[in-house]
C-alpha cells in the first residue's frame, strides 16, 4: 500500500498541504479531485517521493519512501507527467524504452523489447513507434508517456519483485478525446484489477465518479472528504468545494453519480 500520514508542506510561508492522510491500496483506483490550487499536484509530488514533506510521512508497504532504494522504488511506482516537451528528438519507441531504465541488470533486451511492444499497444501508439516524439500532437505525447510509465512498472519474466505496482497520474486525460480518455480509464482499472494501485489527479468530477473506486476531495490543502463516488459527490459538496450549483443524477446501470451545473 502507498500511503501518506499527516503530510504537511509549506513553501515561502504559504501552507500547501496540512495534515493530509491518503492511502492507495493495491487493487483500487483512487481519484483526487479539487479546485485549482487545492494542492493536488503537490500531494502527487509528495506521494511520488519527488518532494519531501515538512511534516508527516509517506510509506510504501510500511517502509518510508526515503528508505527505498531509488531504482527499486522506480520499479514499483511510476508517475505520469503532463506531456512534457523533450530536449532532443528521441523516437516514440526510445521514449517508451526509457521506462525500462530502472530494470537495467534485471532484464534482458528481448524481455524489454516485448514489454515495450506491449506498452505501445496498450496505450494505442504502436503505429507511432518510429516517429519523432517532438513532432507529435499533445494527445499523442500524452499516450506515449502513458506507454512509458506502463513499461516502467512491469518486471521481466522471472525477475518480478513482490508487492503491488503503483501508478500516479497527473491529469492523465488532458488533451485526450473522449475515446482515448476512456482507453486510459480502462487501462488504469485493468491495472487495479491485477492488484496495482492507481491515483489519478482529475479535473472532471464526472470522470472521477465514473472510473474511481474511491474519490478523495482536496481543498485548501486538506482532505475535505473521501469515499465511494456515490457517497461523496453530492450537491452540497460541489457548492462548498467548487462553488457551483449542480444537480446530481445517478446512472441506472452502474449506480454511479454524475453532476450537471444548473
Amino acid at each position: 500500500m502507498l500511503s501518506a500520514q499527516g503530510v504537511g508542506v509549506a513553501r515561502g510561508g504559504r501552507v500547501l498541504l496540512a495534515g493530509v492522510d491518503i492511502a492507495v491500496p493495491p487493487g483500487e483506483t483512487v481519484a483526487l479531485i479539487g479546485p485549482n490550487g487545492a494542492g493536488k499536484s503537490t500531494l502527487l509530488h509528495v506521494l511520488s517521493g519527488a518532494l519531501s514533506p515538512d511534516r508527516g510521512a509517506v510509506t510504501l508497504d510500511d517502509a518510508p519512501l526515503a528508505d527505498w532504494h531509488r531504482t527499486a522504488l522506480a520499479r514499483r511506482r511510476a508517475v505520469l507527467p503532463q506531456a512534457p516537451a523533450l530536449g532532443f528528438a528521441l523516437t516514440v519507441r526510445e521514449v517508451v524504452a526509457l521506462g525500462r531504465s530502472p530494470h537495467a541488470g534485471m532484464s534482458t533486451p528481448a524481455a524489454d523489447a516485448r514489454i515495450i511492444d506491449a506498452a505501445l499497444r496498450q496505450a494505442g501508439v504502436a503505429h507511432l513507434a518510429g516517429r519523432a516524439y517532438p513532432g507529435l500532437s499533445g494527445g499523442e505525447r500524452q499516450r506515449v508517456q502513458i506507454a512509458r510509465v506502463l513499461a516502467q512498472i512491469v518486471s521481466a519474466p522471472g525477475r518480478g519483485e513482490a508487492g503491488g505496482r503503483y501508478l500516479l497520474l497527473d491529469e492523465p486525460t488532458n488533451n485526450l478525446d473522449i475515446g482515448h480518455q476512456q482507453r486510459i480509464v480502462t487501462l488504469a482499472r485493468r491495472l487495479a484489477r491485477r492488484g496495482g494501485g492507481v491515483l489519478a489527479v482529475l479535473h472532471d468530477p464526472n470522470l472521477a465518479a465514473a472510473c474511481a473506486d474511491r474519490v478523495v476531495v482536496l481543498a485548501g490543502g486538506t482532505v475535505i472528504t473521501a469515499g465511494a463516488p456515490a457517497a461523496v459527490l453530492d450537491a452540497a459538496l460541489m457548492r462548498e468545494v467548487f462553488g457551483v450549483r449542480v444537480r446530481v443524477y445517478v446512472d441506472a446501470d452502474s449506480g454511479r453519480p454524475f453532476v450537471r451545473p444548473v
Binding site: 511520488s48 519527488a50 511510476a78 512534457p84 532532443f88 528521441l90 526510445e94 531504465s101 513507434a129
Partner: protein, 362 residues
C-alpha cells in the same frame, strides 16, 4: 495483421542497426584518415606507408627502418600533436554533447559553464604578468604557469557558477545557464582589460592563446596533462542513461530512479576537468563542442549511448582536420586553429538553423 506489423518493425530495427554501424564506420574511417594525414602531411612530407612502418616500428615490430629523419618528424614532432588533437577533439565534443543533454539546450557548449573563459582569464593574467610572476616565483616559467593557471582558473570559475546556481543541494539548470552567461561576460570584460594594458609581445601570445593552437606540443608537455583530459572525458560516457532520462525532464528522471542531483554535479565536474585540462594546453577552441554533437544527432538520433562515443570520434577527426588546415594553408606560418574551426563551424551552424526553421515551417 499483428504478425505483419511485428515483422516490419523487426526489419526496420535491423536496418536501423546496420545504418548506425555504417555511420560509426564512416566516422572511424574519417578519424583514421585524419590521423594518418596529420602524421604524413607537413613541411617534410612522409608517405603514408612510411608512416605506418614508423608506427609499427615504435610499437616494437621488427620492420625495416624508415629514413631516420622521417622517424623523428613523425614520432617526436607530429605524433604528440596528433595525440593532443585526438584527446582535445574528443573531450570538447563529449563535454558539448553531455552539457547539451544536461541543459536540454542545443546551444550549450563547454564554454557555457564558464570553464573556457575562466581558463582564458587566468591564462591571460599569467601571460600579461609573466615577467612579474617569474620575478616572484622563478620556477614558474610561462611554459608552466600559463597551462597551470588556465586549468585552475577554469575549475574555479565553473565551481563559482555552479555554487551560484545551487541552493540546499539542488542545482537549478536555467540559473546555471544564466550564471554561466553572466560570468562569461564578466571574465570577457576582464580579459579585454588585460588586452588593453598588455605590451606587444603579451598581446601576440594572448591573441594566439584565445584562438587556440595545437602547435608546439611535446611529449614532455603532453604526458602530465593527457590523463586529465582523457579520463574525465571517457567517464562522461557512463552517464548516457542519465542524460537520456534527463531529456524528459529532471522530475521524470528522478521518477525513473536516477539520482539527478548527483548526476548533474558529476557531469559538470567531469566537463570542467576535461575541458579545463584541454584548454590549458591548446587555448580556447570554439565550435567543436557545439557543432559535433549536432552532426552526430542528425545522423544517429538523440540516444546518448550512441551520441557520446560517436561525438568523441567525430570530434577527434574534425579537430585533426582543422589542425591540418591550420598548419598547412599559410606555410611556413600557422593559423590559430580556432580561426579554422569558427570559419567552418559558424556557417555550418547557421545552415543547421536555417534548415531546422525550414523543417518546422513544412
Amino acid at each position: 495483421m499483428a504478425a505483419v506489423v511485428t515483422a516490419a518493425d523487426t526489419g526496420g530495427d535491423a536496418r536501423e542497426r546496420r545504418r548506425v554501424i555504417a555511420i560509426a564506420a564512416v566516422f572511424a574511417a574519417l578519424w583514421g584518415a585524419t590521423i594518418l594525414a596529420g602524421l604524413s602531411v607537413g613541411a617534410v612530407a612522409v608517405p603514408a606507408d612510411e608512416v605506418v612502418t614508423i608506427l609499427a616500428r615504435s610499437a616494437g615490430l621488427p620492420v625495416a627502418p624508415a629514413v631516420p629523419a622521417h622517424e623523428t618528424v613523425v614520432t617526436v614532432i607530429r605524433l604528440p600533436r596528433v595525440v593532443l588533437g585526438t584527446a582535445v577533439g574528443a573531450a570538447l565534443a563529449l563535454a558539448g554533447a553531455a552539457l547539451q543533454g544536461l541543459f536540454r539546450n542545443p546551444l550549450a557548449d563547454p564554454g557555457l559553464i564558464g570553464v573556457s573563459t575562466g581558463a582564458g582569464l587566468a591564462a591571460a593574467t599569467a601571460i600579461v604578468f609573466s615577467a612579474a610572476l617569474t620575478a616572484v616565483l622563478p620556477f614558474l616559467t610561462p611554459v608552466l604557469a600559463v597551462p597551470a593557471a588556465a586549468f585552475a582558473g577554469g575549475l574555479a570559475v565553473t565551481f563559482a557558477v555552479y555554487r551560484i546556481a545551487s541552493t540546499e543541494g539542488r542545482t537549478d539548470i536555467p540559473t546555471l545557464l544564466l550564471a554561466g552567461v553572466a560570468v562569461n561576460a564578466i571574465a570577457g570584460a576582464a580579459i579585454g582589460l588585460l588586452v588593453f594594458v598588455s605590451d606587444d609581445q603579451a598581446l601576440r601570445d594572448l591573441n594566439f592563446w584565445m584562438l587556440g593552437s595545437l602547435g608546439g606540443v611535446t611529449w614532455a608537455r603532453l604526458a602530465p596533462v593527457l590523463a586529465f583530459i582523457v579520463v574525465p572525458a571517457l567517464a562522461l560516457m557512463r552517464f548516457a542513461g542519465e542524460l537520456d532520462a534527463l531529456l524528459l525532464g529532471e522530475t521524470e528522471a528522478l521518477h525513473l530512479g536516477f539520482d539527478v542531483e548527483r548526476s548533474k554535479r558529476r557531469i559538470v565536474a567531469l566537463c570542467a576537468l576535461a575541458v579545463g585540462a584541454a584548454v590549458a594546453l591548446t587555448g580556447v577552441i570554439g565550435f567543436v563542442g557545439l557543432v559535433v554533437p549536432h552532426l552526430v544527432r542528425l545522423s544517429v538520433g538523440a540516444r546518448h549511448r550512441l551520441v557520446l562515443p560517436l561525438s568523441a570520434v567525430l570530434g577527434s577527426a574534425l579537430l585533426l582536420a582543422a589542425d591540418l588546415i591550420a598548419r598547412t594553408v599559410v606555410l611556413p606560418a600557422e593559423l590559430p586553429i580556432g580561426v579554422v574551426t569558427s570559419c567552418i563551424g559558424g556557417p555550418f551552424f547557421l545552415w543547421l538553423l536555417i534548415r531546422r526553421r525550414g523543417g518546422e515551417g513544412g
